[in-house]
Symmetry: C2
Subunit: 637 residues, 2 copies
């Protein structure tokens, strides 16, 4: 899709008239008095959580934002592959794929060896390694991601719409109160209600209120880490240039004029320029206020010499100053008391924009938290489950900060040369970039062992699916309709657990077929987690979704032979769900080969609601399955 | 996507609450007094035309419908691959792909040889042959296709919204009047304006008003052909069955109980049953009124014996009686006078639903007509161009009727057996089915030679792209951003012509490079069609979009070397369009190999605004290019 040729306008570019892209802000209803979950802040972290919770009709969710409307422009724009996989679970990845710029390659530019005052391309590399994810790495205005979440929220079983023009002033937790232990005070900011105060009581509060988080202050957590912030001039521009790689992500190191990152944007014309302020010549810690767009444009032209860029329109710009920091915990838990208040996103960690981790880490925080809150509020799990959020995400955020610090240092350093022998070797930088591709893609996240992530005793049964990491999708063929599709896409943002049974070499649904025996156990044995944790009035797959993959071609699988757990009757009409059985063969590949599943023995893969691999077990290890779920789920009263 | 588990509700299934799926009908504005194009009927033919014309800001389009709101349920549901390719040109193919059922395989059932009163599967075959199209054959409620067109219409440069509750009573053409020769009379049907008459004057009228077309009667055209209509009982149901292929398209021939077609539908649960009424036992030309759903369900159960189907909910049903008929011309042209009134869709041809051609042929009619009307109304072409509509579409419709008649006969005939030696051999039926797969996919359409379709003197330069047939897409890599993509998807529903220059073996943009020389000619030579037919104030690619494909890898192509016609400055800012240069290599395939382009010599392929191949020429045949466009386009005053 091409757009913005006649200038930038916010909103859905499929709508030609910019005036029609405006969405009426929601009515200014008063806040509810009591809610299950109060989310503070409509950034990506908050909106993702609201989207996830909107999938649960029984949970009351309220999301507030101090600004008076949705975001229209600016902030982050890089969407990592793993974040796209999450969007797929919400069914809006296709829409983002269509509208976004795809990062396929990165170009590296450094000083020309002969004429160091001029830059020259040192190389181009593939951006995402083959088969790292079925999703591309894309670039799109953060505002459009917000729009997609807002749509999911509006359309979910529990419709959720933000309350704008509300500023959280403070919150208090009284752990002795059992029903709604948190009290929040808001001030209204819109002209009609200016200064009106509102008090809300909540079971849980999630502070998604950004780097200057009021929630964080209220629970006494502090961002710690680098005190030195890095300053970046960021501009989204429509421009004319002779720089050849203007439609590629390009990292430019000049010899004396500073560094710059070019990020092509959606629509074919717009481009983002990141100019590193501290590295600019003549710039000894420049005063933020004194930086103008003219100043940045001139800097860009000096850096990219001999090429020039003529800016025709500035869609958005900012001076973005940020350090790499982190809070020590992501919640208010103390001495084994389960948390009531959580922090997510920039409220508990901040990143340099270069690795594009701000938005991606933020949404992954609440992706981790969402299903856990839903589990507790729908009485599928005890409140202790909530402690795992800080445990898992704080660890991951620390790794990321470490990586980011290293990466930023390299990025900002001057290139190595005769006069600057301590500088960074551009070749080393590039190798580092490749090595950490998985990190930036979001696919390297590895949660430590816990009740939710097994010790990995049977990891050998599926070496291509690492316990603690996200389930790595590949294509299979669905039996019922012969559809070639990604197995990972059968796992949606609906809070369900998944038991994937990969058949071994035994004949399909024969008496020796271990998948059949497993289904028999799961469906009928009183100790099976399905028997114990599925509410009586719910569909049999409401809590745990059992699916099976066989090594035979899909035409060899007959519906009549399939175990009833794999084609259960559901809903008010008792309709059969036929979408749980797959052939591993698809377009001449086998899922078993691609993801290294033990062909002889098969295995069970337990996948969490957030698509992370929780455990891998032998097909007949019913005990393993039972005890895994015993640690996580509870029987409803 | 799975939906309808708790029963069917019309509208966008991504919206959980059915009440929120309702879209407010447009305001009841009076009809305009004068319009460029008046479209009668909001079926797929009319909506596609309105969507196409909404892309032109200067054309006033009015579309009327006698019903009081958009379609919500029923009618056709099969979307052929070629129709999906067209949807891609409107940028909504992805959305339909996500929501629809994909027809991957077809199952054939016939009487069991041992027990002929029971059916048995005779075979399963792949539905669409490999590489026939990059798009799947899908099934979705016609109403959802309407919704997609309505969205394009609303959002186009010229916003178009239907006028509901208007019935066309008659129209008159006065060919002596030059500006608005057609006068139409409408009666309003909504309670507020009941009986109010409106008169509209139009330059052109397109009758998309279905099989009982008033427009057709007004211009004195008649549907001719089979007088015998075939009757079908059609039901969209949520049902429970033990029929194994319920999620596959299945053609069932029973030995004595009749025939039935099963079409699985979107959402994983719904299914359409087509029951052939004339072939039912005890049914000597049944009275349409006497047919009930109970009757149809009983028949379905008899046909599919020993399997049973228990219907839990009927989302829609109809007795659909239709013959294979056609009008002799699709317009009101006479004695060389150019037409003012056109017929499209069911208004000029009707089909048995089995080959799924009603909707597909209808939208392809107006896909052919839309750009031609836009050409004439924007003064790109003379009114004679409009004569080609009836010429091209009537020919194609006749072929289709012939095919359809044959196909229906085979489908309806009893299977061959000892007692019925004249019956159809199921194996022969199946072979016929395979052979005509291309026909049903919509990719076999071949427009005859005319000013718009060359004689094919140079067909040998690209034997995989047949002149007169649709441009057959394959993947390429876009140079500027290294994006793997379908070349065909660069051609949108915007009324532009395309010159695709496929480079030969000469070095990229060297002095011997014929693509460079062609660009030089096209951009600067006063006789070039771009020089002559592009309005002075328009972008250089506004009328003819020139793109180039090279045989070298994309990294070997340097932006600085690319001819300026292939990276033109556009829009109010003079921004460069970088999306016109491709490498033929993509994922280890070459476009040249896949579509059999002459590697040594390369070629020019001229593609029409409707994506049909108009001509293939040697790269240096400037005369050929010039004279082709001379026959079609005119210079504006
Ligand atoms: C101005 C700006 C520019 C940025 N530029 C870049 C960039 O160029 N590249 C990049 O990668 N990342 C950039 N980021 C960072 C990126 O946008 C964040 O990492 C990402 O948005 C984090 O998401 P979040 O939901 O945690 O917080 P945020 O997106 O910051 O959202 C927090 C929300 O909470 C609201 N809020 C705060 N306090 C209160 C309160 N007391 N009461 C009610 N509401 C409150 C805020 O108004 C805000 O909408 C930028 C961020 C900002 C703010
Ligand atoms: C009841 C029904 C059931 C069908 N079932 C199937 C099926 O099961 N399978 C299948 O493949 N195809 C089916 N079809 C056919 C398929 O829907 C059509 O081939 C396809 O819709 C043709 O598109 P069209 O735009 O040409 O005409 P239509 O979709 O028929 O649209 C014509 C429109 O014009 C309107 N109109 C008519 N006269 C006037 C007037 N005087 N003034 C104003 N408006 C007017 C009508 O209300 C209608 O909305 C069915 C059609 C109908 C009507």
């Amino acid at each position: 899709m091409q757009f913005y040729q006649e200038g930038f306008h916010p909103g859905d570019p499929k709508i030609t008239d910019p005036a029609d892209r405006v969405i009426a802000p929601p009515l200014k209803h008063p806040l509810p008095q009591e809610v299950d979950v109060m989310i503070v802040g409509c950034g990506p972290a908050g909106l993702n959580l609201a989207a996830q919770l909107s999938k649960f009709a029984s949970i009351s969710t309220c999301i507030v934002e101090q600004k008076d409307d949705r975001l229209l422009v600016g902030q982050a724009d890089g969407i990592a592959c793993r974040t796209m996989e999450m969007f797929e679970a919400y069914d809006f990845a296709d829409q983002i794929k269509q509208e976004a710029y795809w990062v396929n390659e990165t170009a590296f530019w450094k000083p020309n060896t002969e004429q160091p005052e001029q830059i020259a391309r040192s190389s181009k590399i593939q951006d995402v390694e083959d088969d790292l994810s079925e999703m591309p790495h894309v670039i799109i205005n953060q505002a459009r991601v917000h729009d997609a979440f807002l749509e999911v929220m509006r359309h979910g079983p529990r419709k959720v719409v933000p309350h704008y023009s509300r500023q959280l002033l403070n919150l208090e937790v009284d752990p002795t109160v059992t029903d709604y232990p948190v009290t929040l005070t808001f001030e209204r900011l819109d002209s009609q209600h200016l200064g009106v105060m509102e008090t809300v009581k909540a079971k849980y509060v999630v502070g998604c209120d950004g780097a200057r988080s009021t929630v964080r202050k209220s629970i006494g957590r502090k961002l710690v880490g680098d005190s030195i912030s890095q300053g970046w001039g960021v501009m989204d521009v429509l421009a004319v240039t002779d720089f050849p790689d203007i439609r590629l992500k390009s990292a430019i190191h000049s010899s004396n004029e500073g560094n710059m990152l070019i990020i092509p944007r959606e629509g074919g014309y717009m481009v983002r320029l990141y100019i590193e302020l501290d590295k600019l010549k003549n710039n000894e810690r420049l005063n933020k206020q004194s930086i103008t767009t003219d100043y940045l444009i001139a800097a860009a032209n000096r850096i990219m010499h001999p090429y020039t860029i003529e800016v025709k329109e500035i869609a958005w710009w900012s001076v973005y100053e940020i350090g790499q920091r982190l809070t020590t915990a992501f919640d208010d838990a103390e001495d084994g008391r389960s948390p009531h208040v959580f922090l997510a996103g920039d409220a508990c960690h901040t990143h340099s924009p270069k690795a594009g981790q701000g938005l991606n880490t933020s949404v992954n925080d609440t992706w981790n938290l969402g299903w856990k809150l839903a589990h507790v509020l729908t009485e599928r799990a005890n409140a202790e489950l909530l402690q795992s959020y800080s445990f898992e995400r704080q660890t991951v955020a620390q790794q990321l900060i470490d990586f980011d610090r290293e990466f930023s240092k390299m990025f900002s350093a001057k290139p190595k040369s005769a006069t600057n022998p301590d500088g960074v070797d551009p070749t080393a930088f590039q190798q580092y970039f490749v090595q950490f591709g998985r990190f930036t893609a979001g696919t390297a996240i590895h949660y430590p062992q816990s009740d939710l992530v097994s010790s990995g005793q049977h990891q050998c049964l599926a070496t291509g699916q690492t316990i603690g990491m996200r389930f790595h999708s590949a294509k299979v063929t669905r039996q019922a309709d012969a559809k070639p599709m990604h197995l990972g896409h059968s796992m949606k943002a609906d809070g369900r657990w998944h038991i994937l049974a990969f058949a071994g070499e035994q004949n399909f649904m024969s008496d020796t077929c271990k998948v059949k025996a497993l289904c028999e156990f799961l469906q009928h044995n009183p100790s099976s987690p399905i028997q114990r944790f599925t509410p009586k009035d719910a569909d049999i797959d409401a809590i745990i979704n059992v699916q099976a993959v066989f090594q035979v071609p899909h035409r060899k699988i007959e519906v009549a032979d399939i175990h009833s757990l794999l084609q259960p009757s559901k809903g008010c009409h008792g309709l059969k769900d036929y979408e749980k059985v797959y052939s591993a063969l698809c377009e001449e590949n086998s899922f078993y080969d691609k993801r290294r599943i033990d062909k002889k023995n098969g295995c069970i893969i337990i996948v969490r609601p957030d698509q992370y691999v929780a455990d891998i077990l032998p097909l007949s290890d019913y005990n393993g399955v039972t005890s895994f779920f015993d640690r996580v789920l509870i029987q409803r009263a």
